[in-house]
């Protein structure tokens, strides 16, 4: 294994400021905020969606409905990676018809997770529009998918890894880039 180098990309304060800005971007791109729904991708996307909802509630005063999406059963690589023993929870708070649904995830890389999330959402209903908001866009797309709202862009190599830590799951808030080493997971 090659030596690895860990860099801090965003600390706790930077994450909070980034989420504030992302919430503003989401609002400005949603024609009718009363039809807004945030859908976090399991697992860290769910926590980020919850925080964005809190920011939005603070600024607009209105409660934003939130959902969670587990895309495990919509992945295209069961043959290769084998089954994931733990499939997470999927729940959507409202019928999606007529809503502006925002998919929220921590890191955008190949785009395959988003492809799976779009397929899964289509099985639940037909939102008026679907947007994509990610905390970190690390490049490296394998599909023609781009985010509408991006917290931070960081160019990476395929062997790098971007680790997002959130207080609710990991005890601290941070985004770190791990350079080099083994092909990341």
């Amino acid at each position: 294994m090659l030596p690895t180098e860990r860099q801090l990309l965003l600390d706790e304060g930077a994450i909070a400021r980034t989420l504030d800005r992302m919430a503003q971007d989401i609002l400005s791109q949603t024609p009718d905020p009363s039809r807004l729904v945030l859908i976090g991708v399991q697992r860290r996307g769910v926590e980020l969606a919850a925080r964005l909802a809190r920011v939005l509630a603070r600024t607009s005063g209105a409660e934003v409905p939130r959902g969670a999406l587990d895309i495990t059963l919509y992945r295209d690589d069961l043959e290769v990676v084998g089954p994931r023993p733990l499939v997470g929870e999927t729940h959507l708070p409202v019928a999606l018809e007529g809503h502006h649904a925002w998919i929220v995830d921590d890191v955008l890389f190949s785009g395959r997770t988003v492809r799976a999330a779009l397929d899964e959402l289509a099985d639940f209903g037909r939102p008026a529009r679907i947007g994509l908001a990610v905390l970190v866009d690390r490049g490296g797309r394998e599909l023609p998918i781009q985010a509408d709202v991006v917290g931070e862009r960081v160019p990476t190599s395929p062997g790098d890894r971007v680790d997002v830590f959130v207080r609710e799951l990991d005890g601290r808030d941070a985004v770190e880039v791990v350079r080099g080493g083994r092909a990341g997971s």
């Binding site: 059963l73 084998g82 089954p83 023993p85 499939v87 099985d123 395929p158 997971s185």
Partner: protein, 319 residues
Amino acid sequence: MSGALGKDLLGLEYLTADQIRRILDTAEPFKEISERAIKKVPVLRGKTIVNLFFEASTRTRISFEFAEKRLSADTVNVAASGSSVTKGETLVDTARNLEAMRIDMVVMRHMSSGAAKFLADRIESSVINAGDGKHEHPTQGLLDLLTIRDHRPIEGTKVCIVGDVLHSRVARSNIWGLLKLGAEVAVCGPRSLLPLGIEELGVCCFRRVEEAIEWADVLNVLRLQLERMEAGYIPSLREYYRVFGVTVERLEKAPRDLLILHPGPMNRGVEIDSRVADGPHSVILGQVTNGVAVRMAVLYLLAGGNPDLAEAAKGGADR
């Protein structure tokens, strides 16, 4: 094929406690899929599954079929009657012919104990035992475990299996699964319908159903087959009901949260009182609902890919 379980699911005797827990944990999120408006996820798209039933079955066959379809697999049902089996074809020849059509899994019910293992040793496809003679019915055992776990932790729970334990594959799968997950297990029934030496498995025996009800947190009431009376195991169905029937009167002495399970199909008024089957203790329909989720979990875990490729693929995964 590998995944968490290996190639086949033949019985709970051959699984570790961790593997059983993994199946149950995987079944939890699958419950929700059956509550969706579109009850389907694409995870087994392109997989071909044959349901090969040499014995009559309604619940198990339909439950497997729903599980397969909700995971987007392509399925074919073969019933022994009306197939080439009635022309004298052997089990292995039937299966090899199916395999020559490039299938991925066989779900089989067979009247002979050991048939599932016999087949699994001879074909490449995954084999799921949907009941083999008096041996095991692992997915029934798993759905019973899931149903109990919905209400209470399995470890330390006292479960009594009531009825024809001697001929019951459901009883065997239950005993293995429950013991592995740390439950206390007892059986209760006429002497003639309890296997000799069952205590050696660590199972205690009650001779009177009243004692079993007083002891247990969960009663799993087995179906009494009519043929048993004809074969002389019990004097009559009425006498069986009088002595071993799970009735409201007997349950009145039970702890309030006693659970009643029954694998179906029920003989109301033989092994179970109708008022019990439809009463507040009964979780019998919950078992049926859980059956689909548990079978989805088993199919999903068995369908996993080649673990050797997993390492290579990690570089291409998201993050």
